[in-house]
Amino acid sequence: MKSASPTTPWRLLRVYLGPQRGSVLAMALLLIASIALEIAEPLIVARFIESIQLGAAERVLITIALVFLGVAALRQITRVVAAYASERVSWTATNAVREDLSAHVLDLDLTFHESRSPGELIERIDGDVNQVAEFFSSLIVQLVGNALLVLGILIALTVVDWRIGLTFTVINVLGFILLSKVTAKATAKWEDDREQSAQLFGYVSESIRATEDLRSSAATDYAMSRFHRRLRSWLPVKVRAEAWSSTIWIVMSLVFTASTAFAFGYGGFFYQNGMISLANTYLVVAYATMLNTPIEVLREQVQGLQQARAAIRRISEMFGYSSKLVDGEETLPAGSLSVEFDDVAFEYVSADDTGEVERKKVLDDLSFRLEPGATLGLVGRTGAGKSTIAHLLFRMYDPVRGRVLLDGIDARSLSLSSLRSQTGFVTQDVHVFSATLRENLTFFDPDVPDERLVEILDALELRPWLDSLPDGLSSRISPTAMSSGQAQLLNLARVFLKDPGLVILDEPSSKLDLTTEAMVERALDRLLAGRTVIVIAHRLGTIRRTDQVLVLDRGKVVEQGSTADLLANPESRLAELHRVGEVPA
């Protein structure tokens, strides 16, 4: 992690390109060289024409032709080497951005993650950074290269005759402005087109998904008629978008026509009036032709530049977020821990598009105490606040009021590293990395000895499974090839690898098959012994294993007490939840 986060676009460039100053310079020099060579090519041909008119020997002409070929070859080589340099600069810089951004995002607290979808984060870390990579590698080369090329040609034309130089400068500036205007308009029209096409295909995809519903409702005619209406409203939008984008070609065609006409007119007229030589007439015509490609490329690149700038801005913004958690210094002792919630409240604060701040209370007035080695069950519907309790214990975020105490110490003053290595969280959904079994168990930590891994797999009765794998711990496992039962056991192994004093267990709400279920049960019996345990329980069987129960509803404790008492009392909320089927057996 870089300590100074690059929170502005300019700093971003400085931080990541700074270390590569030498390569950037080399890249620039190569680029300039290749452009100089490109501008030199027509000059050599002009020289050739001049020599013919002076009646030079064939040997001289052949030498000039060979020089021309040599320059042409050298230009291509310079281009490739320049491209290589820019690719290197680009990948070195953007790889560092990807790594730092990932580390930064991992460091942010859970309130950040809960308000963003994984897709959005992937788009930032991968999509936006790729755009920046594109910017460094091809964009700069093309943009700067073509701009320099145009400039060089215009200067060369001015040297031939200032009037010609001026005329072409005007044509190109006008052409570029016109092209940008037309492109902006066409882009807007294409947005409309994309919108229409998205609506049509959204509808097509929905209605295909609903085929069964539509058929059994005898509504397929209706569905077809909606398709026709969508198609009809797309037609004019499509034609307009295509027509506007054709104006880009038209402008280019007109610019080309104007350049050619002026080149021919000036060249011919000046030559016939003895103002320039035939060789220079050739130069004017050749340069005029060469000017056509760069302005189109420049237009594309300027558009690309805007996208890259937006991407850079979004990346800097991402670096700008900082974790609200401040790391503490105290450490937890080994062994089982006591847990206490002291008048804890938690709420999500989210700002919508209009900037309006919305507060959503998730937990309120929560107090309880759990002795070391005791077991607590959390019961309640989805959204009751059970997971929030777990997340607070892990300091994925801090409460807005009250204190969470572990072993009597406020979680805020504990070091995150000590807190998270002393507590284990068995989540419901297990993420299996497509990596080796060892990496999956250790989260890619190479420092965990294999013996420890085998020991824990043994305790989970997974030894036979391990032995059946082709490469033992080094076997690659993949999310798709694992049953949910195996994934659960893997999850347990991960948590117990660190021998935590407090375990939070989010019981899977879906059922495992009986054999695995029994394996998990036995493993839990063994592993949970002697630790403080908080279970987010969904089933009666699990609740029976706890000492105390906390029944939650919409962020508040509605019932609290010893499990045995509550289950015995038919008036209790817990007993009622069981009766109406919220807590199945």
Partner: protein, 598 residues
């Protein structure tokens, strides 16, 4: 043309008619627009032959070799006229093409969609919905784009032929000496490009690896934080990044090097021309005008090569698109993909026909020895028989995976027919999928699919609102929800609108079913997402309409009301009778419901 021949052999299934036949049929859907577009684009593609000739004309004038009366200004006037003509051609061709393209693509989509709605077995769309959607969306595009392929290919051939003839007419020797090595270089580069595939694959795999790693990191944030292994995970990303960097640089540099070979053809050709023609230029046999012509044409060689490559690729892709589209038709004749049907682009589509009245009053539905086993498995239902009489309530119950849903879907003809017989009022039903629909039967699946649009649209699906909407909404106990929405029945749902809860989706679908006012209601576990109160009210209202019902349910309250209860187990009906009878007769039933009954 061997590449084309190969593409044809590889991409087309034996039974599909030739691509060109499809294309001809498609073109004839809107021939005027197509012709206009073809003409315009041919002008566009052939235009690059002009600048070279005009450049030659200019230098011929300047060197005094041109015909009498041909001046610099004549040449300039032609340049301007040609430029304006080209601009006009671009605009006309684009507009005509857009019109043709949308019609062609729309037609193909229309035909696909209407086939999907009618092909045997509605499950055809399940499982591979994604694939079906992408065929309707992307392959229709590839097929319509083939229309442009025709005139592009023609212009490309004319352009190459014309250019070559012009060059040969100027100087045969120079043309051959310049073009042969160029062609060789291009052929070699093209070959190298094909070989570059392996390196491209490596960089693609390395990129996928990095994207995958980043994806895993953001998905597993909680787990990683809880395990406190942030640093180790980032270290893994660093490893993958380094691999990708090496692969990408190799890939990019290689493709840039190849590109530069293509780009260098202009300079290389010009240099060769100077070299070969040096002697003749001294004597004036090969003029400066000739050189301008050669060098201008040589500038187009690399563009042209790229364009040809694009045309060959397009042809190959369209072959694949056609065969995917044909397999989507499931047995309908392939040419029906391009049947000329009306697209209603100018006026409204015809109004949806009002619901037909029931042709004869419903008396009974009999199912005899019905079986449906999923291909490649032993799951399904076997040898199921049942009879539903008008005015009765039949409830199917049983544990998860016992075949309840499969039974309903098999009866309704939502699977391709396997075994068994279905009789409606005593008459055998040949095609239940087309017969057991409103006004006879309507169905609410367990996970109903709604369309984006208003709730009203979703319930009516084109039916006239003659009071049925209100009745349906009432029976489905949807009023309390509608009151909570700002716009009631006009509330937009779906992608751009309100997201309904599972229970609201189910009851909207139920209202959709009630609105069809069928003789027989079929419901698959309507209550799975409803709270107890709402569900009780819903059933009370259904029973109050005294309509015939076939339903899957687990709730004792529903089972108690049923005239017959069918207990499913392992794909068979294990027991049937009233709830009380089953409790007495079946140990399974007692273990499921016994305790509650005391």
């Amino acid at each position: 043309m061997t590449a084309k021949a190969n593409a044809k052999a590889n991409a087309k299934p034996a039974d599909a008619p030739p691509t060109l036949k499809f294309l001809a049929r498609l073109i004839s859907y809107s021939p005027g627009r197509y012709l206009l577009a073809a003409l315009g684009w041919m002008v566009f593609h052939l235009w690059p032959l002009m600048p070279g000739l005009l450049g030659k004309a200019l230098f011929d004038v300047l060197e005094g070799r041109a015909a009498l009366g041909f001046t610099v200004w004549t040449v300039v006037a032609i340049v301007v006229a040609a430029g304006l003509a080209r601009s006009a051609a671009i605009l006309g061709a684009t507009v005509a093409w857009a019109g043709w393209y949308l019609r062609a693509r729309g037609l193909v989509q229309r035909n696909m969609l209407s086939r999907i709605f009618r092909r045997p077995g509605a499950d055809a769309a399940s499982g591979s919905v994604g694939e079906t959607v992408s065929t309707v969306r992307d392959d229709s595009d590839a097929i319509a784009m083939m229309g442009g392929w025709g005139f592009d290919m023609l212009s490309a051939l004319i352009f190459a032929g014309g250019g070559l003839i012009i060059l040969l007419s100027v100087d045969v020797q120079v043309t051959l000496v310049v073009m042969v090595p160029l062609a060789l270089v291009l052929a070699l580069a093209q070959l190298a490009r094909a070989k570059a595939y392996r390196i491209r694959e490596q960089s693609r795999a390395a990129t996928a690896q990095v994207t995958g790693t980043i994806g895993e990191i953001v998905v597993a944030v909680r787990g990683i934080k809880a395990a406190h292994k942030e640093k180790q995970v980032v270290a893994r990303l660093r490893e993958h990044n380094a691999i990708r960097k090496r692969a990408m640089i190799r890939d990019k540099v290689q493709s840039l090097a190849l590109d530069s070979v293509f780009n260098s053809t202009a300079s290389l050709g010009a240099g060769l021309t100077l070299l070969v023609a040096a002697g003749q230029m001294r004597t004036g046999e090969f003029t400066i005008g000739d050189f301008v012509l050669f060098s201008t044409y040589l500038m187009q060689v690399s563009d042209y090569t790229g364009f040809m490559g694009y045309l060959v690729r397009t042809y190959q892709q369209s072959g694949v698109a056609f065969s995917r589209a044909v397999s989507l038709l499931r047995g309908a004749p392939p040419m029906s993909l391009v049947d000329h049907n009306k697209l209603y682009l100018r006026g409204d589509p015809p109004p949806v026909a009002p619901p037909a009245p029931l042709d004869e009053e419903f008396r009974s539905l009999e199912v005899r020895s019905l079986s449906h086993v999923f291909p490649g498995s032993t799951h399904g239902v076997r040898d199921v028989s049942l009879t539903i009489r008008a005015g009765t309530v039949t409830v199917v119950t049983g544990e998860v995976g016992s075949g309840k849903t499969t039974l309903l879907r098999a009866v309704l003809g939502l699977y391709e027919r396997q075994d068994g017989e279905i009789r409606w009022n005593g008459n055998a039903v040949e095609s239940p999928g087309e017969f057991l629909i409103p006004p006879r039967v309507a169905y609410t699946p367990q996970n109903p699919a709604l369309l984006s649009g208003t709730i009203r649209e979703n319930i009516l699906l084109g039916l006239p609102d003659d009071g049925r909407l209100e009745r349906a909404v009432h029976t489905a106990v949807l009023e309390p929800d509608l009151e909570r929405f700002d716009h009631g029945l006009a509330t937009e749902i779906g992608v751009r609108g309100v997201r309904l809860s599972g229970g609201q989706i189910q009851r909207t679908a139920a209202a959709r079913m009630f609105a069809r006012e069928p003789a027989l209601l079929v419901m698959d576990d309507l209550s799975s997402a409803l709270d107890v109160e709402t569900e009780r009210e819903l059933w009370r209202r259904i029973f109050a309409t005294s309509v015939t019902c076939l339903a899957v349910s687990h709730r004792p309250a529903v089972l108690e009301q049923a005239d017959q209860v069918l207990l499913m187990k392992n794909g068979r009906i294990e027991a049937s009778g009233t709830f009380t009878e089953l409790l007495a007769a079946s140990a399974d039933m007692r273990s499921r419901y016994g305790r509650r009954q005391g």
